[in-house]
Symmetry: C2
Subunit: 222 residues, 2 copies
């Protein structure tokens, strides 16, 4: 089991979250740290996808992970056992992270030796979409069992994400999930969204996803 810290996050005092988010991003740019904000419903496979991502990229980038969770520390335990830096953010029941809470997390993670910082946001398709965390890119995971109608029901989340990973494609035969309908719904919300079907369990699609992420980190560090 790896080592990780638990950090209690305080409520923000910043009225203007968007400005604070821009400050966080320019600070990250100066330090050449890429921050990915990873969002999804509970149980869509964020931690498993993250595990695969780390396995693929940890020899190329120095990775640090912030786990925002409501109570437990199961995710930080899993991640830290992979040999990357991990920190658990306790949000005190908050349903999202804003830019200043993220900045507290980045300070706790000590990003001086990190190229790629990943924020695993609270499992929630609603509130996290409303707050710019200061991340360079937003990613979300939609899993097959959740259904192909989710872009209709959670429009804001899909509209703010640069990339949508459609996870658990290994169980497609057991669910009524129409991939074309899902793609269409996502692109209606966000015509620029990159859509990548994956199975974090079998590894399918992980190459394409980590390829996208690798390119984005390199662009940011230039």
């Amino acid at each position: 089991m790896g080592e990780f810290r638990v950090l209690e996050i305080k409520q923000s005092v910043f009225a203007d979250n968007d400005r604070r988010a821009d400050e966080v991003r320019s600070e990250l740019k100066k330090k050449k740290v890429f921050l990915l904000n990873l969002m999804s419903s509970p149980g869509s496979g964020k931690t498993t996808t993250l595990t695969r991502t780390i396995e693929h990229l940890k020899d190329e980038f120095r990775i640090g992970v912030m786990e925002a969770d409501i109570d437990s520390d199961v995710d930080a335990q899993t991640i830290s056992s992979l040999g990357v830096k991990a920190i658990q953010l306790h949000t005190g029941g908050m349903c999202h992270l804003d830019a200043d809470m993220t900045a507290q997390g980045l300070a706790g993670l000590e990003t001086g030796d990190v190229d790629l910082a990943i924020l695993e946001n609270v499992g929630n398709l609603v509130c996290p979409a409303e707050f710019d965390t200061g991340a360079v890119k937003n990613a979300m995971i939609l899993s097959v069992p959740e259904g192909d109608d989710k872009p209709l029901k959670y429009p804001l989340m899909f509209s703010i994400c640069d990339v949508v990973l459609i996870n658990k494609i290994d169980v497609l035969p057991y669910f009524d999930f129409d991939m074309d309908k899902c793609r269409e719904g996502i692109l209606m919300r966000n015509p620029n969204a990159k859509i990548i079907p994956i199975s974090a369990r079998t590894g399918e699609g992980i190459e394409e996803w980590t390829g996208w992420l690798r390119d984005e980190v390199k662009k940011w560090q230039q």
Copy 2:
């Protein structure tokens, strides 16, 4: 396709939500209307479970359904086509319903001829748990693909629910889901929780669930 209304819900002006919730409940008691608050993650099968529930109980009770959704009206369309009263609550991006918002919904539903009112809350395991809606009982659905660790991660939701439906048991063979571990986690959060494994798709367990609900409605109406 059945008929249904769309109601725009206003932000509450009540500072004391718990008191407002008690008022809503005593009003319901006078009118002999049972209100069930149904919560879950996005995509865990609330609408399909509701469909099964209505099929089982619509000859015994006059049912009315309030669909709280962020944008679309797909759920209200589905429900109203079953021949029960349905109303779509537009929450303007809110991540939960509180007691007064629920009261607005009940007024819109016109419960004079309703025995069993069901609120399909916003798909979210965090915020809805924090607000008493005035419901007589709280139910939640956890689906197998979400994982058996959810009671560890969303403690409040599990602690306030009278009944937990574990849905999608027809796909148990395809997921690493430990039913005993899940039960243990739920009971740690709430020793009195009633746990019912179901498959809304195949109908398994629906008899037990609707039996529980039937008994609760009858108790309330006495």
